[in-house]
């Protein structure tokens, strides 16, 4: 992996909330992060025939369902063990067992994914133990597979929950590895859109690579209209494929921040490497040409085949459009916000089209965030009038404050930044997660050359539209 992190010695102003930076004492206002069980649920929805169970109060499941429905606009069945006061005092085992029984009798799932909540963690519930007891008391029947993961929100956000659950799925389902005994490649794409997942699968197919992508909600959370009713939407990573994860030839795990090897952010790929010596490749999220090049190079190496013509053309057209649009973008200033690896990817893209990322903010608190931004901004930094302000543990109020100071030309990130764009009359380019105020969040493409093309067009057109709307004459040609 190419990394610039040691070459440029932190030229950035880091305002790290988690380690006592400028915003450390600001009360959390309009958080730029979600809770861990949401990330867990999203992963479970990307496993075939899997029902998520949140062990805690009813509200956790309902809020998360509502939040995800507003983004994906798809059915979102997530069960709860529906804690009552007595469960909090005497333990939630009874509700846990009843919950699983009821899920099985309604859905006959292949997998039940159990994650904890703040409440069940605080009272010391151990779902691993609860599952053991459940299994041994129901030996008389065939049971689905179980995945269990600890996701208290007081020790991590939705991305931590997401990554922990991908890892837990592999840990709970994979059979003892034969160490690269099968041709399959594990691919862990992280929190990307269904359209991104479909595109990744198309690319892997075109390279002729056999793969297991986890999670894969490309169909389950973006399904065509139904002509018959499905209790669980079709699609998702098949359980059987996950069982082979420890025999894969290698793992491909997206994310420079996730791949940063900190104590608590080790991903599924790294876990498999540690446990079973499955080689883990860790490119950044392939957003923009440079990051996508790294990804495609990796695939060329893995498959032994050159990049198919189709993608060479996509890349070529993308560069052609970069040239067509470069004048409208050079020197523009942008604020990027969202999940860490998403922000890093966006920084990579903006840095290669002449846009100056003035603020890179995330609600996450990884110590690798600044290094990763560093690495992808690379040489472009020399052209920036001042280094980007990198904010760990950001909330939208601190982003608003920074926006008022830095006066960007546009914002890029999820739709929760809309109130800042409205207040400052700036374009917001909606992408990532969540997009609650527009249709088509599932179809937003971010990854690879095709994703970069969509993003580039959206960014350039947002700037053009803004200029046109604010011009005194309203011209007809650019």
């Amino acid at each position: 992996m190419i990394s610039f992190s040691n070459e440029i010695k932190n030229p950035y102003t880091e305002l790290d909330k988690s380690i006592g930076g400028r915003f450390a004492d600001n009360p959390a206002t309009n958080a730029c992060k979600l809770c861990a069980p949401l990330g867990a649920s999203l992963v479970f929805k990307g496993i075939e025939n899997c029902v998520p169970l949140i062990h805690g109060s009813q509200g956790c499941a309902t809020y998360i369902r509502r939040y995800l429905i507003s983004h994906f606009r798809e059915p979102m069945d997530i069960a709860s063990s529906s804690f009552a006061e007595s469960s909090t005092i005497f333990g939630g085992a009874e509700n846990f067992n009843a919950g699983i029984d009821n899920i099985i009798s309604q859905y006959t799932p292949d997998v039940v994914g159990v994650c904890t909540s703040c409440l069940s963690e605080t009272i010391g519930e151990d779902p691993g133990m609860l599952l053991g007891e459940y299994r041994s008391s129901r030996k008389d029947r065939e049971l689905p597979a179980f995945i269990n993961v600890a996701t208290p929100s007081y020790s991590g956000n939705h991305m931590d929950g997401f990554n922990a659950t991908v890892k837990a799925a592999v840990r709970c389902l994979c059979e003892n590895g034969g160490g690269a005994s099968c041709e399959m490649l594990n691919i862990f794409p992280g929190l990307v859109s269904p359209a991104d997942m479909r595109y990744l699968k198309e690319i892997l197919d075109d390279f002729g690579i056999d793969y297991m992508m986890l999670p894969d909600y490309s169909e389950s959370l973006d399904s065509p209209t139904w002509d018959e009713y499905h209790k669980l939407p079709p699609g998702g990573t098949p359980r059987k494929r996950i069982t082979q994860a420890a025999s894969a030839r290698a793992s491909l795990q997206f994310g420079r921040v996730l791949g940063g090897n900190s104590r608590d952010s080790i991903g599924a790929g790294e876990w498999l490497e540690k446990q079973f010596k499955i080689k883990c490749l860790k490119p950044g999220m392939p957003i923009g040409i440079k990051e996508s090049d790294i990804f495609f190079k990796t695939l060329e190496t893995l498959s032994g085949k050159p990049m198919p013509e189709k993608y060479k053309n996509e890349r070529g057209r993308l560069i052609d459009s970069y040239i067509d649009g470069h004048k409208y973008l050079f020197g523009k200033r942008a604020i990027i916000f969202g999940e860490e690896d998403f922000v890093v990817g966006m920084t990579a893209l903006l840095s290669e089209i002449g846009v100056h990322p003035v603020v890179c903010g995330s609600g996450g608190e990884s110590p690798h965030f600044a290094d990763a931004i560093n690495a992808v901004a690379g040489d472009a930094i020399k052209n920036f009038p001042e280094p980007p302000i990198i904010v760990n543990g950001a909330d939208f109020e601190s982003l608003l404050e920074l926006a008022l100071e830095t006066r960007p030309d546009f914002l890029i990130g999820n739709s929760k930044g809309y109130y800042i764009s409205r207040q400052m009359n700036l374009p917001l380019i909606r992408c990532g997660f969540p997009v609650h105020d527009r249709i088509g969040a599932q179809r937003l493409l971010h990854l690879g050359y095709r994703g970069a093309q969509q993003l580039f067009d959206a960014i350039t057109n947002a700037v053009l539209e803004y200029n046109q709307d604010n011009s005194p004459m309203g011209y007809k040609y650019m």
Binding site: R66, S82, Y107
Partner: protein, 448 residues
């Protein structure tokens, strides 16, 4: 594979003949049933949310705050502090060592920054478990900052959404009676309208024309100072009775203010609400004004509705909403449009509510309490429904099954209350059911 869980069987009934339907409701959601309900915290949060000049601080880890950030389409005529999401964002160390200090510093710095008229501090699940004395912190800050600081006892697991309504009412009760400013004659409080899409302003206009003065709006477009003097009103007019009945009863007991349960949805219920208020004040002038108002509104509305009715007549509807009183109004409103209700249910209905619904519905109608997606889909399929009236979580179920949908919940952007609301409601049903897109979609079994 069962569509209906054994332990839920008594929460479902089909109206057969003339006998009363009997639903075993008001109980905790069954574990593993994907209930559409939220929790105690949610109940409190949605009720208090529209108080626009208060600080709403959620004490707990970040999730509960972030999922309720600007969650209702409730509109303000002034301050918009309620649209911010404040959280103490508790971390592991707070879970171990307690969150009181974090609560104190967060609360005081937010009050300094935003100068609210009052602050509500919502407890989430873990607050009670880790033993924070929220009440004591609130008292302390109240003394220091000289504004009411009110703890809301809303730990998620302590019951259902309905218990959250009660916790919100208890919090409001602490405010009411703390200001003795006198009220003009013919003053009422509006309870249980949340000013979604400006609905409360429509009602206010009707009441103004009748000569009625609105003292406190509880809570849509609500103001702390108005709520503090709400005990000076002569009458409480309560919509969304499920959420506000505790407060109405409490005020009746403490201050002798009578209350009326009303609904502003549909022509009949809307008119009845206004007549009941006029009747209460016993002023013939007011009654005359009310008649004028109602007949003027109806003369505009009815011809429009007739046009929609021509196209909607004979359609079948599923209603699944939070509160049962709304469901009752919807059955009537749909009937006015020639639409038959074939399934009706609510998250928090009481036994009496279901009896009323049962009496209103035709034989064969399915009634359900605290339902889940599988049941709702099954009922909609079996009854051959054409349209679904629900909230965000019901929408994808309806759409995947090829049913039209009307959002009658927090996210709605069009007023559905009042006479204007009835027209909007009809138009929305019409626009969804008769959209040409359905020619490409829908279940095979429905086509049979």
């Amino acid at each position: 594979m069962n569509d209906i869980l054994k332990d839920r069987a008594l929460q479902i009934a089909t109206r057969t003949g003339n006998e009363e339907v009997n639903i075993d409701c008001s109980k905790a959601s069954l574990a593993g049933s994907v209930s559409q309900r939220a929790c105690v915290f949610c109940g409190s949060r949605v009720v208090l949310f529209p108080i626009v000049d208060a600080l709403h601080l959620i004490h707990g880890p970040v999730g509960c705050a972030v999922y309720t950030w600007d969650i209702r389409g409730t509109v303000s005529s002034g301050p918009e502090l309620h649209r911010q999401s404040f959280s103490t964002d508790l971390r592991e160390k707070h879970v171990i060592f307690g969150g009181e200090k974090k609560l104190y510093t967060t609360l005081t710095s937010l009050i300094d920054k935003h100068n609210p008229k009052a602050a509500f501090v919502y407890s989430t699940c873990i607050v009670g478990v880790i033993g924070d004395d929220v009440e004591a912190i609130c008292r302390k800050v109240e003394k220091e900052k000289h504004i009411p600081v009110i703890p809301v006892n809303s730990a998620g697991f302590k019951g259902s959404k309905k218990d959250g309504y009660k916790a919100a009412c208890d919090a409001l009760a602490q405010l009411i009676g703390t200001s003795d400013e006198p009220a003009p004659e013919f003053s009422i409080n509006i309870l249980g309208d949340f000013n979604l899409a400006g609905e409360l302003w429509l009602l206010e206009e009707y009441y103004r024309k009748m000569g009625v003065n609105i003292l406190a709006r509880i809570t849509g477009d609500g103001r702390i100072d108005d709520i503090r003097k709400a005990h000076k009103a002569q009458l409480n007019v309560v919509q969304c009775a499920g959420s506000m009945i505790h407060l109405a009863k409490d005020m009746e007991e403490k201050y002798g203010i009578p209350f009326k349960r009303v609904s502003y949805f549909g022509v009949e219920d809307m008119s009845q609400a206004l007549y009941e208020v006029a009747e209460f004040f016993g002023s013939s002038h007011m009654m005359e004004k009310t008649r004028e108002l109602v007949s003027e509104e109806l003369s505009k509305l009815l011809p429009v509705l007739e046009k929609y009715r021509e196209r909607l007549e004979g359609k079948k509807a599923v209603i699944y909403v939070g509160g049962a009183f709304k469901a009752v109004s919807l059955i009537k409103a749909l009937r006015l449009l020639g639409i038959q209700t074939v399934v009706v249910g609510s998250q928090t209905g009481k036994k009496e509510d279901y009896e009323i619904m049962g009496r209103l519905c035709d034989p064969g109608t399915i009634l359900v309490d605290d339902s889940n997606p599988l049941e709702l889909a099954k009922f909609a399929r079996e009854t051959g429904a054409d349209i679904f009236i629900g909230g965000v979580k019901e929408r994808p179920i309806a759409f995947k099954m090829g049913l039209g949908f009307c959002d009658h919940n927090h996210e709605r952007k069009e007023a559905l209350a009042g006479y204007v609301g009835m027209e909007n409601f009809a138009r929305e049903l019409y626009a969804s059911v008769l959209s040409p897109v359905w020619q490409f979609a829908g279940m095979k079994e429905k086509a049979l």
